[in-house]
Subunit: 230 residues, 2 copies
DNA sequence: CGCATGCTTCGGCCGCGGCCGAACTGTGCG
DNA sequence: CGCACAGTTCGGCCGCGGCCGAAGCATGCG
C-alpha cells in the first residue's frame, strides 16, 4: 500500500532523464556542484536546483556546503546499488566514464598536494580510503573517529595519538577538491602529512601546493597503506 | 547519454503508483492475470492493459497466454532485484505478503493435484523448482530440457528417459493454476507423476483432481527432491 | 562597500501521460 | 448460434510536473 507509493516515488525521481543524468554522473562516488550537474544534464541552473532539492529530500543525495559551492553526492551505497540494478534491467552498459576534466589542470596537483596542513589529491583520498577500508578510521559526514586498530597503526607509524584535548576535530573528513571524495583533515590529517614529509615520502614543489611522491614514498605508501597511485 | 535515457525510461515505468503496485504484487514470482493486477492496483482493466503492454515492451514483464487468460509475471530475477533495491532506498519494508485468496478454495487441491497427466499444486511446483535448482532440468518459457545430471537422477528414480522419439515435448513447463508458477508437464511430468503413484507417495482423492501425499510420500519426496511441503 | 558568482525561489507556459467510457476482438461455453 | 467474460484499442479530459526567464538571497573578492 504505502510501500508501493514510496517505491513509486523513489523510482519516479530516477525516472526523469535530467535527474537520471545527474545521478549517473555521481555514480563514481564523487561530489559535484549544482552547476556542474546542471551542465551534464543539459538544463539550466534553476531547473537543476529544483531537482537536487527533491533528490535530497527523498534521501537519494547528500549535500555539503563548502564556501559558496554546494557539493552533491549520492547519499549512500544503497543508492548506487539501486541505480546499477536499474541500469542492468534497462540493458544499458555502465556509462563509459567519460573523463570529464574537473578541478585543477595541473596533473601534479591532482596527484598530490597539501590542503592547508594535510594531504589532498589522489594521494590524500587514497590514504583516507585505505584507512577506512582497514577499519582504522571511521568517517561520517560530520566527523570521524580513530578506532583502536587505528591507534595501534598510528603508534607504529610514528604518530602519537592526541591526548584528550582537542579530540573533537582530530579525525575529520574533508571534501577533496579535484577528486571530489573525502580525504583526512583535522589533527590526524595534519599529523599524517607531517610524518610523510618527515619520512621523506613527499617533497614540496616550489611555488605550488603540489607535492611530489618520492621513490621511497611510493614504496613506503605501498607497504604502510597498500596504496598504488599509478 | 543514451544509457541515461534507458535508465530513466525503466525507472519511470516503476515510478507510476499503479504500475509499482502491479510489480509489487508480482514480486513473489507468481503470474497474475491482467484483471487481478488491475484490481490490486485499483484501476480499470483498460488502464491496466496499457500499463502491462508498456511493461512488457520494456522487458520488465513476460506474458503467457493460457486460454482466454493472459498471465503476467516478472520477466527475470534481475527485475525482482531492481525492485528490491528501489524499495530499500525508499525505506519501505517489503509488503506484508497479504494472503490474497487465489485459485481453488479447496486446500487439498492447492496442496497437490493432477493437471491432466502430471502433478500440480504446491507439490508440482516444488518438484519443478527443486529439479531446476539442482540443475537436473532447464526450464525456459517455451520449452525445457533434461540435463545429463537430470538423466542420471531419473534413471535412479526409476524413470527410463525417452528415446529420441517425441523428445520435443518431453520436458515442458506448465503454468500452475493455484501457485501461478511453473510445474513440469510433458512426458517428463507424466512420468514423474506416474512414478509417484507407483511408489505409493501420492493417492487420488475420489471425485476430485486433488491427490493426497502419504507418509511414505513425505519421506520419499524429502529424500529424493529435498522437498518439505509444510 | 559594490560587483561577480553560485544557487534558490517564484510565476507562468506547455506537453506528456494517466485515467476512464465506449466500442471492438477473441476465446470459451451451452 | 448467442451470450458471457477477458482483454485491448480509441478518443478525449485533465492535472502533474518539467522547463525557463526574471528576480531574490548568500558568499567571496577587490
Amino acid at each position: 500500500m504505502s510501500s508501493n507509493a514510496a517505491m513509486a516515488e523513489t523510482a519516479a525521481l530516477v525516472g526523469d532523464p535530467a535527474r537520471a543524468c545527474m545521478l549517473n554522473a555521481l555514480m563514481d562516488g564523487r561530489a559535484l556542484t549544482a552547476g556542474e550537474l546542471a551542465s551534464v544534464a543539459g538544463i539550466t541552473a534553476q531547473t537543476a536546483s529544483g531537482h537536487l532539492a527533491r533528490l535530497s529530500a527523498a534521501g537519494l543525495l547528500a549535500m555539503e556546503r563548502q564556501g559558496r559551492h554546494r557539493y552533491h553526492r549520492l547519499a549512500s551505497p544503497a543508492v548506487a546499488r539501486m541505480l546499477e540494478a536499474i541500469m542492468q534491467v534497462a540493458g544499458a552498459a555502465p556509462p563509459p566514464a567519460l573523463p570529464r576534466r574537473i578541478g585543477p589542470a595541473d596533473a601534479a596537483m591532482r596527484r598530490a598536494r597539501t590542503c592547508y596542513d594535510h594531504l589532498a589529491g589522489r594521494l590524500g583520498v587514497a590514504i583516507a580510503e585505505a584507512m577506512a577500508a582497514r577499519g582504522q578510521v571511521e568517517l561520517a559526514t560530520d566527523g570521524g573517529a580513530v578506532t583502536p586498530a587505528g591507534q595501534d597503526f598510528l603508534t607504529g607509524f610514528g604518530i602519537i595519538p592526541e591526548p584528550g584535548g582537542s579530540r573533537r576535530a582530530f579525525c575529520r573528513p574533508c571534501l577533496d577538491w579535484s577528486e571530489r571524495r573525502h580525504h583526512l583533515a583535522g589533527g590526524l590529517g595534519a599529523a599524517l602529512c607531517a610524518r610523510c614529509f618527515e619520512l621523506g615520502w613527499v617533497k614540496r614543489v616550489p611555488q605550488s601546493r603540489a607535492v611530489l611522491v618520492t621513490r621511497a614514498g611510493e614504496a613506503g605508501l605501498r607497504q604502510a597503506f597498500g596504496i598504488e597511485l599509478g
